[in-house]
Symmetry: C2
Amino acid sequence: MPSVTVENYLKTIYLHQQRRPREELVPMGELASAMSVTPGTATSMVKNLSDQELVDYEPRGGVRLTRTGDKTALQVLRRHRLVEVFLVEVLGLDWAEVHDEAEELEHAISDKLLDRLDAFLGYPEFDPHGDPIPSAKGMPKAAELVDIVEAPQGRAMRVARIKDQDPAFLRFLERCGLTPGQLVTVTGRDAVADAVTVHPDGKDPVTLGTSAGRKIMLRPASQRR
Amino acid sequence: MPSVTVENYLKTIYLHQQRRPREELVPMGELASAMSVTPGTATSMVKNLSDQELVDYEPRGGVRLTRTGDKTALQVLRRHRLVEVFLVEVLGLDWAEVHDEAEELEHAISDKLLDRLDAFLGYPEFDPHGDPIPSAKGMPKAAELVDIVEAPQGRAMRVARIKDQDPAFLRFLERCGLTPGQLVTVTGRDAVADAVTVHPDGKDPVTLGTSAGRKIMLRPASQRR
DNA sequence: TCTTTTATTTTGATTTGTCAAAATTCAATC
DNA sequence: GATTGAATTTTGACAAATCAAAATAAAAGA
């Protein structure tokens, strides 16, 4: 069985791979800072992962998951996200806090327990932040979402997913009414001010900087999921 | 924060201290085999715990928890037992399996989450095996229980607690109807055969060897808890 | 008391995951 | 082309937890 550390490296590589163009390698520096370790540590760990055939490592290029590594990363993500659903839906924890809790629990749950939990929760497809929950098979094909900055203005949209786990940011979104499922309209964009204004249905309009706006993903209100 | 390993040592020392006369030291060999490590490993670990003031260590005598060590051990036990209640009561896992699951989860739960869980479960006082759940303050004073071998014959008793976590043993008890809460009568004892016979209310009588019988603790049926 | 047995401790090594700092490589600039 | 700079790798060291095997102490027998 992979150690907690190995699981965390694989999960982190997976997540960073997602955020960049197809087939591109994740640079070692990026991995190191994401894992909060020195670059040298990341290098030696990645060599180790490479020996275990969990990643492809190209010296001075970066890393990418192998099929096996990918499968393991998805299992970790599945545990993480199902735990988050449980913490919010069942125990009523604040969605802003559950990420850190799940970060620990994701390494402590057996397959059997996970299946029970999944059934108990009614086989949810998304976690409280709108992140898709991988099935035992793999990651469901993602619907195409647009972030607030890129979204068409004046169209009825719905918040689908938040791409940041920082509790302060999440609490801010909650106050504004920008939580997954919420109906919104993007009402304006100002390139000079580097800002975008969004109007959550039944709430006050909110103006965000584009770096914040890019973390909030929308789908057309008409679209099921 | 103590490591998972440290938590496990403290928990194990606590449990073994319980099983022996007041103030007596737990021998290193017993600790080593309970932890499934070599004696040398136990010695070096215990020295380490002693430096952290978590145990008193008497070379060639054994170990005993300090007040601090005791408190930490009880926190671990509290997490373990609340998790067990959750797994059985909420997710419906078999009581024979939950010990191993809880063994992992007990190290991954934050104080905040634990409090939520406790409230959600209705502040239970005992886990599925009848083991008392320590409160945030400490371990509740244990009611005096008798094992099946020592119990008076012909009196209405109730199963209070099972002092063994082996799934095979627990499943056996379930088949016989010897689970916590069950009304039973001890109907006979045979010193020569080293056996004892117990009659669970509404089930068939069961004859057990005394070593098995000593793992099943009873209280008078009249006594609340 | 002397010897044997058993429990415990010591010693030296190993693995995993980490850091600091020096060395290297590659790309970019002059 | 030579030099600078940034990213990466290498090297040597360390802490935690472990084992195997040798050394020691205490208890039990003779």
